[in-house]
């Protein structure tokens, strides 16, 4: 039997609102039980959206960070405990952000435009969400390029001439960023980003019953976590 699971598609504004609620919840949660419940809530959100792989990956990452916190708890490595704990509290937020990142940029822009946000802010949010992995990839490429040319081949080579190493790394990155911004801006202008008429999208954009239900369910569960635990 061919079993097909229908994915729930939510409006980007719903993801954004839930990200805001999750930020508040992560901030006010104090106990370990609450942090675990918040992570489970994030996993549930991703599972409902059909993002099973991401839910599993983030869940596994959370377990690893928590295990590291417990393992290093009584040792002299207190700083690492703080870092791992901070990362573990960020995972539920990353989960919701990954759901937002899974939306098409066109849908995101269309939805945010309907919120009457300034165009520059909409572009900022979209680039912030989409370009983090690209910039990280650029940094890795520069590092690999330096290694291939025999420049600062080992990690300790950097310690001998840190200023030169920084200059050698920074300059290609700056040039790449300048080129990238020119190319991206030209591409966006040619696709009509400066057009003043209301934007349309090939995908359905708008609040539906499922969005209302998602927000309501999230709010009830979040309140339950904060009040009961």
């Amino acid at each position: 039997m061919n079993l097909r699971i229908k994915k729930v598609r939510l409006d980007p504004r719903t993801h954004l609102l839930i990200l805001l609620l999750m930020s508040i919840l992560a901030l006010i949660a104090a106990s370990h039980a609450q942090s675990i419940a918040i992570m489970l809530l994030g996993m549930l959100y991703l599972v409902v959206l059909g993002l099973f792989k991401k839910a599993f990956q983030y869940g596994l990452l959370f377990v690893c960070f928590k295990a590291a916190v417990i393992a290093l708890g009584g040792t002299a490595l207190g700083t690492f405990v703080i870092i791992f704990y901070t990362f573990s509290t960020m995972i539920p937020l990353m989960m919701i952000a990954s759901a937002l990142m899974a939306s098409s940029p066109s849908v995101m822009m269309c939805a945010f435009e309907r919120m009457r946000l300034p165009k520059n802010l909409i572009i900022t949010i979209c680039i912030l969400i989409r370009f983090f992995p690209v910039i990280v990839q650029e940094m890795v490429s520069i590092r690999n390029g330096m290694r291939a040319r025999g420049i600062f081949q080992h990690w300790y080579s950097v310690l001998r001439q840190p200023a030169l190493a920084y200059e050698c790394f920074l300059m290609p990155l700056v040039v790449r960023c300048l080129k990238l911004s020119s190319e991206l801006a030209a591409s966006a202008v040619l696709r009509g980003i400066e057009c003043t008429v209301t934007r349309s999208s090939a995908y359905p954009v708008g609040f539906r019953t499922v969005d209302g239900l998602a927000i309501l369910m999230f709010f009830i569960l979040a309140t339950g976590i904060y009040v009961v635990m």
């Binding site: 901030l27 870092i83 200059e167 700056v174 801006a185």
Partner: protein, 209 residues
């Protein structure tokens, strides 16, 4: 006759074009990555004294060249405030609500940049950038002044009593706060100076600005 390029269509002298917005966001992403890496590295590799007192200064020093290139490339009113807004959006997404104070410092920094071609002058840039980074350093201090009890509750989940006492010592002692701000200001000015040297030595020579 004025030459028209695709990217200049619709942009006015003082208005931000799409290219300016994209440049600002892309450079800020790099700045955020460097700030996060330095923050983690300083906490892991250095003693708490260095991490708390010199951490923001090291960040300012390393991000200064990027800021100077970005400011020189955009060179329009609002660059510093845009930086503050993007930083706040990023930190809010990471759940760091205390970074909202940075918006206020962004406004003050932007006011310090009032004037013609201020973003092309490294000394003026150093003033605005120093205010921004001093604000960044103080974002950890201000919540302890206004919401101490709540912050103790939040920190007690991850920090041991000893780690919390160390943090409170650096973030509540006026002399320590003064040292932290002074180191940050020094890092900011030095970062902008290095940025100006990079700009003249590499970027302007390559005619990228």
């Amino acid at each position: 006759m004025q030459e028209l390029s695709v990217q200049n269509i619709g942009t006015q002298q003082n208005r931000w074009g799409i290219k300016d917005v994209v440049t600002c966001v892309i450079f800020n992403i790099v700045i955020m990555i460097i700030m996060t890496t330095v923050s983690m590295g300083a906490s892991m590799l250095f003693t708490p004294a260095v991490a708390y007192l010199a951490g923001p200064g090291i960040m300012a020093l390393l991000c200064g060249p990027l800021y100077i290139v970005m400011a020189g490339k955009i060179s329009r009113r609002g660059v510093l405030f845009a930086c503050a807004t993007i930083s706040v959006l990023f930190f809010l997404a990471m759940g760091l609500i205390n970074m909202l104070f940075l918006l206020g410092f962004g406004i003050i920094g932007e006011l310090a940049m009032i004037g013609k071609d201020s973003y092309l002058n490294w000394k003026r840039n150093a003033v605005g950038y120093s205010i921004f980074f001093a604000g960044f350093a103080l974002c950890a201090v201000l919540p302890l002044i206004f919401f101490k009890q709540k912050m103790i509750e939040i920190y007690s989940a991850s920090y041991t009593q000893e780690a919390m006492n160390t943090m409170f010592y650096y973030y509540e002692t006026p002399s320590m706060i003064a040292v932290m701000v002074l180191v940050t200001l020094a890092g900011s000015v030095l970062g902008c100076l290095i940025g100006d040297k990079f700009l003249n030595r590499h970027i302007k020579k390559a005619k990228l600005i």
